[in-house]
Amino acid sequence: MRWAVPEAEFMDPGTLGCQGCGGALSMRMVLKEVGDDAAAVLPACCWSIIDGPWPLHSLNIPVLHTAFETAAVVATGIKAAKRHQGKDTTVIAWAGDGGTFDIGLQALSGAAERNEDILYVCYDNEAYMNTGIQRSSATPVGTWTTTTPDERPEPRPKKDIMAIMAAHRIPYAATATSAYPDDLARKVRTAVAARGGMRFLHVLSACPPGWKMPADQAIEAMRRAVLSKVFPLYELRNGRDLTITVWPDREVAIEEYFELQGRFAPLEHEPQTVEQIRSDVAERWQALVDRHERTMALAGA
C-alpha cells in the first residue's frame, strides 16, 4: 500500500523514544509535510527527552526547549521575531496533552484568541508520560494511571479540546493520527498553507508503556481508536465548518479498542461505565455527522 506522504525525512533515527512511540512517529510524519524552513518549540514532555540529550539533536530543524506551560507563547515570540526580520519560517509549538489541555491551556488560549501565526501540534498520549503515567484532563474515563489506580480509575471523561479551540474561532483545527498517514499528511499540508493565523492539530499518539500494551500494537490501537469512533478524524474551519475526513469502513466495537490496552483493565469491572462510554461515543459521532452534513449543505448551496 502506498500513501500520499513525502519521502523526505527531517528526523534522524536513533531518538530516545520508547519502542512503538506514537509521539515520535507523529513528529516524523508532521515534519515530512512541514519541511525544513521551520523551527519548533518543545515544552516539558516526552519530546524533551526523545530529541536527545545535549549536544545531540534528532530533528533537522532548530528546536527551542521551554517551560512546560509555554509552548504556544514561546512560539508566538519566535514568530514575532521572525516576522520582524522579514522571514517566513513556520513556527511549530509541539506539546503533549498535559502541556496543552492542562498547564499550557492558558497560553494556548491566549495565542488562539489573538490568532497567532503558529502551527500548534498536540501529540496526545492521554496522560503525563514523561513523569511516569499520571492522569491528565485528556485521560479517558475508566483509565488506569499511577494517579488513578485500579481501585479508583479516571472518573471523568476526556476534555474536549477541539471544542475549546473551536470556541476561539481559529482558522484551522483538525484531529489526526499516524495510523492514517495520508489523512495526517493532508491536514498538515492544509495547516501549513493556512499560514497567517493559528492552526491546531490534535494528534492521537499511542504510548505502549503508558497504555500497557506491546510496542507492535501502537498503530493498531490508534487505528481502532478511529474505527470505534472513540477518536474521530475531522477538521474544523473557523471553528464552525466541520468535515469528517475518515469514515470508518467497518464496525469496530469500543471493547475491541479497550482490549488491546492494559490501561483499560478497570473497565472490565465497570460494565455501566462501558455502556456510558458507548452511548457517549455514539452521541458525539452523531453530532459530528450532523455538523458535517450542515457544512456540506452550506457548501453546496
Binding site: 525544513d36 524552513d37 521551520a38 523551527a39 518549540v41 518543545l42 524533551s48 527527552i49 530529541d51 536527545g52 540529550p53 545535549w54 545531540l56 539533536h57 530533528l59 533537522n60 530543524i61 532548530p62 528546536v63 527551542l64 526547549h65 521551554t66 517551560a67 506551560e69 509555554t70 507563547v73 514561546v74 512560539a75 508566538t76 515570540g77 519566535i78 514568530k79 514575532a80 521575531a81 521572525k82 516576522r83 520582524h84 526580520q85 519560517t89 492558558q106 497560553a107 488560549s109 491566549g110 484568541e113 489573538r114
Partner: protein, 407 residues
C-alpha cells in the same frame, strides 16, 4: 533630536525601550507599571517604534514570549511589577539559563496579601539569585537611561538585565527628562547581533536535556559572565557619559570623604537620604551616603573600599527577608565580613508597603545610629506605636482606630 520633556518614570522607561529600538515587546498591565505598557502600545501602533507588540494573557507569558523572541535574535523588552514579577519567576530563570539578553523594567510594589500597590522592594529582591543583572534607578532620567545601559551590557555577556524603579515615588512622578537623540542612542547601543537565532539553516537544539557531566559547566559560564558584567557595567557606564552625556557607575557616593557614618540606600528614597545627609551635615554630623545602583553583580570590592574604616554604617532596606534582615543589609554585611577595617553594620527596615520615608525619617535613623551601641540585624523604623528598635515579641502594635462619624 535631543528633547527635554517633563515625564514620569513610567513614561521614561517606555522611552528607554524606544531609544533601545526594542524589536519585540510583550507585556501585561499591572499597577503601577501600566503606563509603560500603554505608552509602548501607542509608540508601536503609531510606528514611532518599529516593534512587534504582543498583548499576552499573563506575565508568565510575557516573559515566555520575550524568551522566544530573544532566542530568535530579536531585542526583547518587557515591564512588570510585584505579583507580575513573581508570576514570571520560572521564566526569569529560563532567560538566564538560555543566555538571553532580555531587558525588563520592574516597578517595585508590595506583595499581596493584603493587596497593596505601594512602594516596596521585596518583589525585585525576591529574584536576587536568579542570575539577572539588576540596577536601581533613582530618577526619571535613570529609569530611561538604565534600559539602554542594561542592553549594552546584556548583549555582551548574554545575561538578562532588570531595571528597578519604585512604585509611584518614581513611576508616577514627573521630572525633567532628556530624551536622547536617536542617532546618539544608536551609537551607544548598536543593533543586536545574536550568535544564535533559531536559523533553520543551522538546526540546533537549545536548552534541552543536560546530564550531570555538563550542567555544572554551563552554570559556571553564567557565574563567570556575571563576574564579567561587573567591569562591563563600569565601562558601559563610562561610555554612556562619553556618548550620551551622563556617566553611570555601579555605586554612587555623596559626601563620603570625611564621613564617619554612612547611610546605604537604593532607589528613589535615596533623594531624601541625600537631603537628610545635607541637613545632618548642617548640624555637624559627619555623615555621607552610599547609593547602591548595581545590585547584581554586587560591587563587592568598591563597597569594601568605600565603607572600610567608617565608624558605623546604616543600611536602609525597603524590603525584608523574614527570619533574617533587610536584604541590602545582608549584602553589605557579607561584602564586609572578615575585612580588617569593617565597620559595624546596622540594618534599618523602612517604608514597607509604601509608608513614607521622609527626610525626617532618615534623620531619625542617623540619630539612632550615632547613639546605638550594638549593631542589629534589623531595626524597624516607623511601626505604629514603636520607637526604632529590633523586633520585640508580643509588642503592642497600635490598632487603627475606627473613624468617628460626626452626627
Amino acid at each position: 533630536m535631543r528633547e527635554r520633556l517633563l515625564l514620569t518614570g513610567n513614561h521614561a522607561a517606555a522611552y528607554g525601550a524606544m531609544l533601545s529600538r526594542a524589536e519585540v515587546i510583550s507585556a501585561y498591565p499591572i499597577t503601577p507599571q501600566t503606563m509603560i505598557v500603554e505608552l509602548l502600545s501607542e509608540l508601536t501602533a503609531s510606528g514611532r517604534l518599529d516593534a512587534e507588540f504582543i498583548t499576552v494573557e499573563s506575565e508568565h507569558s510575557a516573559m515566555a514570549a520575550c524568551v522566544g523572541a530573544s532566542a530568535a535574535g530579536a531585542r526583547a523588552y518587557t515591564a512588570t511589577s510585584g505579583q507580575g514579577l513573581a508570576l514570571m519567576h520560572e521564566m526569569l530563570h529560563w532567560a538566564v539559563g538560555a543566555r538571553l539578553p532580555i531587558v525588563l523594567t520592574n516597578v517595585s510594589r508590595a506583595m499581596a496579601p493584603g493587596w497593596s500597590i505601594w512602594s516596596d522592594q521585596s518583589d525585585i529582591l525576591s529574584q536576587r539569585d536568579v542570575g539577572w543583572m539588576m540596577v536601581f534607578a533613582e530618577t526619571v532620567q535613570e529609569a530611561q537611561d538604565f534600559v539602554l545601559w542594561m542592553y549594552r551590557v546584556s548583549e555582551q555577556v548574554y545575561l538578562p538585565g532588570m531595571v528597578g524603579m519604585d512604585a509611584f515615588i518614581l513611576s508616577h512622578t514627573a521630572e525633567p527628562l532628556i530624551v536622547h537623540d536617536q542617532e546618539a542612542a544608536d551609537a551607544y547601543l548598536p543593533p543586536f547581533e545574536p550568535i544564535y537565532d533559531l536559523d533553520p539553516a543551522e538546526p540546533r537544539a537549545y536548552g534541552g536535556l543536560v546530564n550531570r557531566d555538563h550542567y555544572f559547566e554551563l552554570r559556571y559560564k553564567i557565574y563567570e559572565s556575571m563576574e564579567r558584567a561587573g567591569s562591563l557595567l563600569r565601562e558601559a557606564g563610562e561610555e554612556f557619559g562619553e556618548v550620551l552625556g551622563r556617566r553611570y557607575t555601579p555605586l554612587e557616593g555623596y559626601l563620603l570623604d570625611d564621613a564617619e557614618y554612612v547611610v546605604v540606600s537604593a532607589g528613589a528614597m535615596t533623594s531624601n537620604v541625600r537631603q537628610a545627609v545635607r541637613d545632618l551635615r548642617d548640624r555637624g554630623v559627619k555623615v555621607g551616603l552610599l547609593r547602591v545602583i548595581a545590585f547584581r553583580p554586587f560591587p563587592i570590592t568598591e563597597v569594601r573600599s568605600l565603607l572600610g574604616g567608617r565608624r558605623k554604617v546604616a543600611v536602609l532596606d525597603r524590603n525584608m527577608s523574614p527570619g533574617h534582615s533587610g536584604i541590602f543589609a545582608e549584602e553589605v554585611r557579607s561584602a564586609l565580613f572578615g575585612q580588617p577595617d569593617a565597620p559595624p553594620v546596622y540594618g534599618y527596615v523602612v517604608g514597607i508597603g509604601g509608608r513614607d520615608v521622609r527626610v525626617e525619617t532618615v534623620v531619625d535613623v542617623v540619630d539612632d545610629l550615632t547613639v546605638r551601641e550594638e549593631p542589629e540585624m534589623a531595626l524597624y523604623v516607623g511601626v505604629k506605636g514603636l520607637p526604632i528598635g529590633p523586633l520585640r515579641r508580643d509588642s503592642q502594635i497600635t490598632r487603627l482606630q475606627p473613624l468617628e462619624v460626626q452626627p
